[in-house]
């Protein structure tokens, strides 16, 4: 027997608005029951892509398959997908029960059966007994769950979510991230989730696609996107990074020696190779890849060691960081400050050594000039 086809396949989807190309040859597949995120800055075409999957916009070219069947030309009310809108779009003129039962009523399900299934799905999202309430009597997080219940009661093949956490406050957003992920697992439905918030995408997804200017730059599991970004855009957009512009001064196998514009020397391992001496490159280095070394005794050997002065301490619990000015070049770099106690007493003006492994930095050819 053939394995089941992926729930959603997009082949070469392109969407033009007049001369402007909002979605540009996008390809991806989402297997059944997985959580797929599309991550990108606002205006990159995420909503347009999602609306094409939901059927509110027709692609200019390309094909869309849901459960193996092309849905091009199928109107939104006959596609086996449901969408959770950016502002949820709960019907304010109906109570919660009628909101959730709306789709079932359209299908002509019997009244008693609708009530049973509405109560059941509200139970599953953790909101038993709210059927009779009005929409404005619920909190933000509860509305969120009602919006999901309203879609899930129809048992769609794919659930589309358009930045549904955007309107919530920070604390609730953190909570809903975990909750959404567990709801997805409980319903075992395929989720396609779009967001501009990298932490949402990284926490919840089985696979993340990073989108920029209408194109997918990389698709992969969160760890891969974070640790092995395929392009300079992905490296800069996902997670924090120190960036340097530099020129290749020597190539030794996969090891490059670079000189930054400010004159610093650095060694970077670039297994993807293909760099030539004299080529301009962009280097991305995560703050947590940089190690702090207190005395120059410890800094005897190793690559990329340089002394610097702490210019500020940004205390933020587990995400605390230091800004260090490199003594030799004056370059500012962000360094993660682990709250393990080792550098508890560090303050502005202290001298520290920074050290990082050549394999931890990512190196990309600079755009434009070679």
């Amino acid at each position: 027997m053939l394995p089941a086809p992926p729930d959603l396949i997009c082949r070469d989807i392109t969407k033009h608005f007049d001369a402007f190309r909002a979605v540009d040859h996008v390809n991806f597949e989402v297997p059944q029951g997985s959580f797929f995120s599309i991550l990108g800055p606002s205006g990159c075409g995420k909503t347009t892509l999602l609306r094409m999957i939901a059927g509110f916009q027709e692609p200019t070219s390309g094909d869309l398959l849901i459960k193996g069947k092309s849905v091009i030309g199928v109107p939104p009310n006959r596609r086996p997908v449901s969408m959770v809108f950016q502002h949820l779009a709960l019907f304010p003129t109906m109570n919660i029960g009628d909101n959730v039962g709306f789709g079932l009523r359209q299908r002509g399900v019997a009244r008693a059966e609708i009530r049973r299934r509405v109560d059941d799905v509200l139970d599953r999202v953790g909101l038993p007994g709210v059927s009779a309430r009005r929409v404005d009597q619920l909190s933000g997080g509860q509305k969120q769950r009602v919006a999901i219940a309203r879609c899930m009661v129809l048992e769609p093949d794919v659930l589309l979510l358009d930045e549904p956490l955007g309107a919530l406050d920070q604390k609730l957003r953190e909570h809903m991230k975990v909750e959404l992920k567990s709801l997805q697992a409980a319903f075992n439905t395929t989720f396609v989730y779009i967001t501009h918030d990298q932490s949402e995408a990284l926490v919840m997804s089985d696979n993340v696609a990073v989108m920029n200017k209408g194109q997918f730059e990389q698709i992969g599991p969160p760890q891969e996107v974070y640790h092995r970004p395929a392009t300079a855009f992905v490296a800069g957009f996902v997670g924090d990074a120190n960036t340097f512009e530099a020129k290749v001064t020597a190539v030794n196998g996969s090891m490059l020696t670079l000189a930054t514009q400010t004159g610093a020397q650095m060694n970077v391992s670039a297994p993807q190779s293909g760099f030539d001496t004299g080529q301009r490159v962009d280097v991305f280095l995560r703050p947590e890849a940089i190690e702090l070394v207190a005395s120059d005794m410890a800094a005897q050997n190793g690559d990329n060691i340089s002394p610097g002065t702490v210019t500020s301490v940004l205390f933020n619990g587990a995400n605390s960081a230091l800004t260090v000015r490199d003594t030799a070049t004056g370059a500012m770099i962000n360094v993660a400050l682990p709250q393990t106690g080792a550098f508890a007493g560090i303050g502005t003006g202290d001298t520290v050594y920074t050290r990082w492994d050549p394999t931890k930095a990512r190196c990309y050819a600079a755009p434009g000039v070679k």
């Binding site: 059927g55 997908v81 969408m83 950016q86 502002h87 779009a89 003129t93 709306f102 359209q106 299908r107």
Partner: protein, 288 residues
């Protein structure tokens, strides 16, 4: 001290609206009522009684005209709603930016000229030697001139035309405030166009529908010019009858009774309309 001053301010602000209410609305109606219950028993001799109201119910011409006016006004309101809703929906939901403003302005253009001129415009179109009659003859669809004026259909056309703006404006306002994503959510959840219209758009537009209907009904009921000009001498419109009593017959007592009955009728119909649509007056007027 300060509370006294703020209280004074409150009454000063309230004064104009109180004045307006008392002088322009309550006093005339009280006067109307007082006159309507005076019976003339001789020259300059009056006594209080319900004789004028009795006269209304005894004369079939009076109460039939009254009922006819009410039914025609309700019909005109319904027609205006049926015609106005798609126009308003189109303007509010299917157009944007400049097109929207232009269409909205186009709805208002007829109201830049007086009602009299507008009605004469319709007469030019509809009369025996008018544009439509001539056009039909030229096309060979009819053999002789056709009179479109002086019938109930002509009155209806005039009434709908005169009041459609007052239906479209509140409808556009309420439909504008309907978030497009609600309509899309309706389709997304499997709703057909009719289901989305019935369950999402119309419930949202209800306050606009009701306030538009109230205004159009009042305008039609109280319209004098359109029924007389388009319906002719025998248009049998109740306001025409009130006019006759006051001006032609000098029977102010009966005229006042008619006026008062019209007031009761309009209040009753509006009340019933609100009850049937499940809206409250404050909600309706507050939202549009």
């Amino acid at each position: 001290m300060s509370s006294d001053a703020s209280r004074l301010g409150f009454y000063l602000l309230l004064a104009p609206i109180l004045l307006w209410l008392v002088v322009l609305i309550i006093l005339p109606h009280v006067g109307l009522f007082v006159v309507s219950i005076s019976e003339k028993i001789g020259p300059r001799e009056y006594e209080i009684g319900m004789g004028n109201y009795a006269a209304f119910f005894q004369e079939p011409l009076f109460w039939r005209t009254f009922a006819r006016t009410a039914i025609m006004s309700i019909l005109a309101t319904a027609l205006t709603l049926i015609l106005g809703f798609p126009i308003a929906y189109y303007i509010a939901k299917l157009t944007q930016g400049r097109t929207k403003t232009t269409l909205f302005l186009m709805c208002m253009i007829p109201f830049w000229v007086s009602e009299l001129v507008r009605t004469f415009g319709w007469m030019i179109l509809l009369r025996e030697t008018g544009v439509i009659s001539n056009g039909l003859q030229a096309l060979g669809l009819v053999s002789g001139p056709v009179e479109f004026l002086y019938n109930d259909a002509a009155i209806m056309v005039g009434l709908v035309y005169t009041s459609i703006l007052f239906m479209v404006v509140p409808l556009v306002t309420t439909l504008d405030s309907l978030d497009n994503s609600l309509i899309e959510a309706g389709y997304d959840l499997g709703g057909s166009s009719t289901a989305v219209m019935r369950e999402i758009v119309i419930p949202h537009a209800m306050p606009g529908i009701v306030s538009g209907c109230i205004v159009v009904f009042m305008l039609s009921l109280g319209n004098y010019l359109t029924p007389i000009l388009l319906g002719g001498k025998d248009s049998l419109w109740f306001t025409g009858m009130i006019y006759t009593q006051f001006i032609t017959r000098f029977n102010w007592e009966l005229g006042s009774a008619f006026g008062f009955l019209l007031l009761i009728l309009s209040s009753l119909v509006v009340f019933l309309g609100l009850k049937l649509s499940g809206q409250s007056l404050s909600e309706t007027m507050g939202r549009s």
